[in-house]
């Protein structure tokens, strides 16, 4: 793995002095982290590469401001999350999702959710993910982010606090409201499917 053997404090000093090789090492080290955040929070009409590039440009441009009080990865993840929120804000929320907008697989998932209380089969996870992404596109960026972080990525409240800078009560309230909004949109779909 590229990050093996990287001496982070030395690497950061070298990058701040303009060392290109150290910058490449740092890019390779941070890429998996950044791309994971980008893929989780990518706006519909934004290119993954463009957003990743924007995040890295911000990281490199502001590296002198990195105090070292928190691990570099936390600092970078926070920049990535904030950049994604900004990109999501620039995008208008979808007005609604109807069954006609869903693929056959996604409609099957809606059927299963409406017809039984059983857990969905793992074969349905990809379609479920697609369906959740379509439903999340109906929410505000902050609501979308909180559902992604807590439910999709399984992060703890403390991790979300570190990533977003929001306090714990804000996170809990926002998560509660976001889930309610998501539930309403899903219920609309379920009713549409089975009038």
């Amino acid at each position: 793995m590229p990050e093996c053997g990287i001496d982070m404090p030395v690497c950061l000093v070298l990058v701040q002095r303009g060392d290109e090789e150290a910058a490449r090492q740092l890019f390779q080290h941070l890429y998996p982290l950044v791309i994971k955040v980008v893929r989780s929070h990518l706006p519909r009409r934004t290119s993954e590469d463009d957003l990743t590039q924007t995040i890295f440009m911000k990281v490199f441009a502001n590296l002198t401001q990195f105090s070292g009080k928190v691990p570099l990865e936390h600092w970078v993840a926070r920049i990535a999350v904030n950049t994604c929120i900004k990109a999501l804000r620039a995008e208008k929320a979808r007005p609604e999702v109807r069954c006609a907008d869903l693929s056959e697989e996604e409609n099957r998932v809606v059927d299963l959710l409406a017809s039984s209380g059983d857990e969905l089969h793992p074969d349905r996870s990809a379609a479920s993910r697609e369906l959740v992404e379509k439903l999340l596109a109906l929410l505000k960026p902050e609501d979308r982010l909180i559902i992604n972080l807590l439910n999709m990525e399984g992060r703890s409240i403390e991790e979300v606090r570190q990533l977003t800078g929001w306090n714990q009560s804000v996170i809990k309230v926002r998560a509660f409201r976001a889930r309610n909004k998501l539930r309403k949109h899903l219920e609309k779909l379920l009713k549409e499917e089975r009038p």
């Binding site: 890429y31 791309i35 590469d49 440009m57 479920s128 959740v132 219920e187």
Partner: protein, 97 residues
């Protein structure tokens, strides 16, 4: 086994199990674009040092404006001074004549 009636919870759990995008390697050219962008502005925004300075200057300017307004208000709320007395005495003398 207890069934989960909330469809949202079931959907979210199923979605969370979806396999992650396997490709964690940067696409060709991305690293070069980032490095090139960084080299063309190696130390970030060169005017970045101005921001905290301008912020302090703005704060100082606000304090000065507030002090001026307070001073002006205090002056205008003081009772009339000698300059009015002088005019008043001249007026009185004119009336007496």
């Amino acid at each position: 086994m207890k069934q989960e009636r909330d469809p949202l919870n079931r959907l979210l759990r199923a979605a969370a199990r979806a396999p992650q995008h396997p490709d964690m390697e940067p696409p060709f050219g991305l690293e070069s674009r980032v490095i090139a962008g960084w080299i063309s502005a190696p130390f970030g925004d060169e005017s970045a040092w101005l921001v905290p300075w301008l912020r302090s200057a703005m704060a100082m300017a606000c304090v000065v404006v507030l002090l001026c307004v307070a001073w002006d208000y205090r002056q205008s709320s003081l009772p009339a001074g000698d300059e009015v007395s002088l005019a008043d005495s001249t007026f009185q003398m004119d009336l007496n004549q």
